[in-house]
Symmetry: C2
Subunit: 731 residues, 2 copies
């Protein structure tokens, strides 16, 4: 028997057996009993606020304060330490100074605690000593099998009616809802909760992950995937612990589960810390931020830039059905906002629906002649409720319309509340998403409340409604995408193993072009005819065999950018030129780089004209290999018009990489030219992916350029660079 919430006495065994979803973080969200270690009566402390938040938010389990100096906290009997508590404890909240945290965790472990949230700050985020303490805490938790959230976090909230746990120092319990929120910034949570309250947004679970010492976004996503009460998942991230695992799990949640859930994420801190040295094209182009773009694209996560977008989109997803396609309609009583909503919708990828003749007829029959009947449908400034009813029924009934944005500006004769009611009543009859923007603030507020009661999201501005509908449509497209697999090509893996072994044996990490080409050949890349000439005679001989025109390039493991040292000649068209070229190149390089080892000169057929593209890989310190695609030429580095994916990539992923550069139109039929062979590019990207998976010791690889010919005519590798990790130990 123990003291509980309001001083009454209840049996010490759980009153209700909570349903577990079998996750190790289950005790965090659904504990039968909670101890607050560091609970306090001193106003203005976290221990004061957090204990009272649990106590006064209606927690359905049993709550114990631990404080060696107080007899009671907020009227509840306090214990000197956790060992003293006569009950079993599922979850502890820890807000004692960092230095004692490892010992407190040890006590918790001995007590059989299964979950802990360390709210206290002063760990990894403050420097090496903090990091050492954090490491100690992790070890203790792991040894005892405690799932550990934090340290340095705001806490955890579960609004399920049978739990009602506000184990946080946020100001209040949020409304119950179907949105889960996971944040790497604790302080942000406080603002989010207040903002959400103003916008009438409810949450299922709300969790501040802090330093992610043990429990990470992976554990939590897995938990939320199985949480029936969660339909939409929001995340604020500053880092990810494991990009590949994150992608796999998120793909499943967003696209494969029976109860699939959209994930929306803000990733802040757009720095370039992940960019590798500038000597690698790919490395210089990949910033950590571009990697996150790639991860989110591969995972089916909608990346957003601002908190406003996050919630704009979330309310759309959480309250309305998904559109079946991207054809939108607008009903408005104001021309200007109609244009603005149209501009925004089209900018974000929607298409203005073409209304059926029957729809236009029915609108013409019932609306005044000054109205605009074709989409956007303008019922005109003096419209009252009946015109909205007419327009909504006609437009939502039109099979050419996938989703609707309803706009209203409060003119003096506008019956705002009646219009809100008719929208609320008609919207659910259509199974199409209906988003509203009642533009204004004060006069429209009663109407906005009515819309919310009917689960029709309202947006302060027309553009936001359009953008949100577009986001829902992007998710539909993700669900409807063709599911492709990773392709496995027949390759000569052994040949590559031997080339790498030879290089490593000779202490080389950078492969000369002949070796690099041999690697690509073993993996089935389309190459130009080429050969290595070791003398001017051989240069002339190979010229004869390959046929004019040829390119000549220095072959040296020590020359990284051949052009910079005069190591390249193009358009060689006679044997004499080939002979002279051999000497010119080797002498030139000898002069500029006297220490470079020269293997000879590579003689290569000149590629037929085509679009030059670049394929590359770089290795991110946190996420491993990243594959890059972009246009070739000087401007690629200036315009940074490139796309990335984590390896391995699938067939669709390869095609999406090609489509997602800004200049992708160059591959279309253009000024009389036939379209380019993007199939061939995609296959090269997939072969590259397979090569990197097989040989992770490759740290840099640039195919620059790959020359792409017309559809059906393939592509050819014109140049390649490969570098290996110095400490590589083979595949």
């Amino acid at each position: 028997m123990t003291q509980t919430l309001h001083g009454t006495v209840v049996p010490s065994k759980p009153a209700v057996a909570k349903v577990s979803n079998g996750s190790r973080v289950d005790p965090i969200f659904r504990p039968n009993s909670v101890a607050v270690i560091g609970a306090s009566n001193r106003v203005g402390t976290v221990g004061h606020d957090l204990f009272r938040n649990i106590l006064f938010s209606g927690y359905t389990g049993t709550l114990y304060p631990v404080n060696p100096k107080a007899a009671s906290i907020a009227g509840v009997h306090a214990y000197t330490n956790i060992g003293e508590i006569p009950d079993e404890i599922d979850l502890v909240l820890i807000m004692v100074p960092p230095i004692v945290v490892p010992q407190v965790l040890e006590d918790c472990g001995n007590k059989g605690v299964r979950g802990a949230v360390i709210v206290t700050a002063g760990f990894k985020e403050i420097g090496p000593e903090g990091a050492a303490l954090e490491q100690q805490a992790i070890e203790v938790a792991r040894r005892h099998g405690i799932a550990l959230v934090g340290p340095n976090c705001l806490g955890v909230i579960n609004t399920d009616a049978d739990i009602m746990l506000n184990a946080s120092f946020a100001r209040r319990m949020p409304k119950h809802g179907n949105i889960a929120f996971l944040s790497q910034s604790g302080a942000l949570c406080a603002g989010i909760l207040d903002y959400a309250r103003g916008r009438d947004v409810g949450f299922s679970k709300f969790i501040s992950v802090g330093n992610k010492a043990d429990v990470t976004e992976i554990d939590l996503l897995r938990y939320l995937a199985n949480d029936d009460g969660t339909d939409v998942i929001l995340m604020y991230l500053e880092t990810l612990v494991d990009g590949r695992a994150f992608i796999e799990l998120a793909r499943e949640i967003t696209g494969e589960l029976a109860h699939r859930k959209p994930i929306l994420a803000i990733k802040s801190g757009r720095t370039t810390q992940g960019a590798a040295a500038a000597r690698s094209h790919t490395g210089a182009l990949a910033g950590s931020d571009a990697v996150y773009d790639a991860i989110f694209a591969q995972a089916g996560i909608l990346r957003v830039d601002t908190v406003e977008e996050l919630f704009d989109f979330a309310v759309g997803f959480s309250r309305q059905p998904l559109p079946k396609g991207n054809r939108f309609a607008i009903v408005t009583n104001a021309g200007g906002p109609g244009i603005m909503a149209t501009d925004a919708a089209i900018r974000h990828g929607l298409e203005l629906a073409k209304l059926r003749p029957e729809t236009l007829e029915s609108l013409k029959a019932k609306l005044p002649p000054t109205a605009n009947f074709s989409n956007p449908v303008d019922v005109i400034g003096d419209a009252t409720c009946d015109r909205y009813t007419t327009a909504l029924e006609a437009v939502l009934g039109d099979p050419n319309v996938d989703g609707l944005v309803v706009l209203l500006t409060p003119q003096s004769m506008t019956d705002i509340e009646a219009i809100a009611r008719t929208i609320g009543e008609i919207a659910p009859t259509s199974k199409k998403p209906v988003l509203a923007s009642f533009f204004g603030h004060v006069d429209v507020s009663a109407g906005v409340r009515i819309l919310e009661q009917h689960n029709v999201p309202n947006y302060e501005f027309p553009e936001n409604a359009s953008r949100s509908l577009a986001a829902m449509c992007r998710y539909t497209q993700w669900l409807l995408r063709p599911r492709t697999k990773e392709r496995h090509f027949e390759v000569d893996r052994e040949a590559v193993t031997q080339i790498f072994a030879k290089a490593r044996g000779e202490g080389r990490t950078f492969l000369p072009e002949a070796e690099a080409l041999a690697v690509l050949k073993a993996y089935g890349f389309p190459l130009l005819q080429h050969a290595l000439a070791k003398s001017e005679d051989e240069a002339a001989e190979w010229f004869q065999k390959i046929g004019a025109p040829v390119a000549m390039k220095i072959a040296s493991p020590d020359v990284v950018h051949k052009l910079d040292v005069g190591g390249v000649l193009l358009n060689i068209s006679t044997p004499e030129e080939a002979r002279a070229g051999y000497n010119k190149i080797t002498n030139g390089v000898k002069q500029k780089l006297p220490s470079a080892r020269l293997f000879g000169v590579e003689i290569q057929a000149m590629a037929a004209k085509g679009v030059e593209v670049i394929l590359g890989i770089s290795k991110d310190p946190s996420f491993g290999h990243i594959i890059m695609f972009g246009l070739g030429g000087t401007y690629v580095e200036v315009l940074k018009d490139v796309s990335f994916r984590l390896v391995p990539i699938r067939e669709l992923g390869a095609h999406n990489m090609i489509k997602s550069i800004r200049a992708a139109k160059v591959f279309d039929s253009f000024r009389g030219q036939p379209p380019a062979d993007t199939e061939a590019i995609a296959e090269c990207l997939e072969r590259l992916s397979q090569l990197i998976v097989d040989f992770p010791e490759i740290t840099e690889l640039d195919i620059n350029p790959l020359i792409v010919h017309a559809e059906g005519k393939g592509a050819r590798v014109a140049d390649v660079r490969i570098a290996l990790a110095p400490d590589a130990h083979g595949p």
Copy 2:
């Protein structure tokens, strides 16, 4: 003596002599007497609402309803027609059916009315009959010297205490403030007024311009320029009547007047109606929207995309001083929002200020050790007011800081109102802009009100505060820009006159390359050595004179794209090749275009390597000549990385055109290459501007490419096309 507002009797001459600013639209804003023609007692009509709005909003002049069927409107004696009114009338509001509007205006003219606002819709916007009626109305108004606003508008509002005129059918009188708003969408106004009320934004003048039959944005901007009560001008535009006049006037308002005023504009309807035929590079690249971008850039107007940005920026400008530079600081109690604000600020062109050592010392002395002292300054989640005071004083006192964003998230111990008060008190002592974002909604609301009372703008999201500070900084940069003039080069205008006369005389509108090059030569463009060969012998001769390598191009007034008909050969390096080339080109073109007139083959020196750019002009139906600049090559058409300006351009404008393409970095020192000669490009753009001003009959001109060499080495025109208007009549 007449009946007035509340049934009392006052003298019929004006009680107060209003101060006129001498504009023809003055009677619209500051009338001594107003008649409402079509005033009504029927609820739900515009005549009902508008009359009562004037009556109940405290108008200080005399108000008369005109309605032939009513004895009184809202208790005020009604007149059968305007002629009956015993008083002089300055302004009439007209809301009678369109068909009678011209007669009503005629009556108004006879009565001596000086201003009219036609609220009624059903004119130009509904088709040809409406347009004819509108034309009639304009003629009547012009004949009588009536300044006419509308038709098809919401009305006009002036909040000056000595006028207090709400001559609109908006729901209520806005708060008085220093922001003027001008809208081409009447219905948008209603939403704006309601939104502004919620955000506590006041207006000086508020005007719905409708169809702009007579009074346009030009008249109104001129009026607002002289209006002491207006500090910031906002516009919602769908079209502009005269781009050049708009630029001249707006430049003066935004940069030159003693009481200069920022102008912020939304231009909606991003269509491509202004794009000319695709055969002209420049025409295909210029959409009307790009033209608006150019106009706004030249006028110093900040173009915004959404109503949210419009007001975000407006409250910054209207309540805070301008920053002196772009170095911003952040003070926050939450890391996550601090990062988000930093990301947004940098994305919009601000720079994170480097705090002085003294500032860091003073922060270290007074903040807890877990705080972050360097910018963004994080006073940590448990901060109360004293830490904010410390941080604000230190950071605002630092001369390295030009502007500040203060962030707050409402954590349980945050004393929101005290912090708002300290921000409000410290901000004005610094003469630097301070923008706040108290993140949340409900808990922060009292704090937000306190900030507003102290004229510190609050933004719902951290990103919005950063973006607004960045907008203020962009305006500072506009004010600080070097003032340059239009340069006038010495040119041979007569030579061009003759070339054009000859072409027109022969019925040609498209100039062959030799003529086009002669035009450029007369205007001092840097050309490659070239000559016209009329036989294979001449081709060989000219080859000898110019020297290898040369390019050969067909000379024909009928060949527009020479490459497409095999009309170009490059890298000709022997006299034999030149001879053979002559025949190959002429025979090839004859075969492909048998009807083309052939003048011979142009022999031109090959340009040394360099960056290829394109310069062009196109003629916009509304705005006249537009000059274009972009990168050369195939991708320019795909990437649309180009900039535009209306002619004439000044020296700074030319440089800004070059800087404002996305790939402008290609002109910098790059991979060991020296920087490109952008001075030479700028001069070519200015010469082009002079040419077009002198010869407006030029409808198309593409210099493609202009080859730009290293700094100091100039640029060379490699190819040019010129087309004239068919009906050109000379300069």
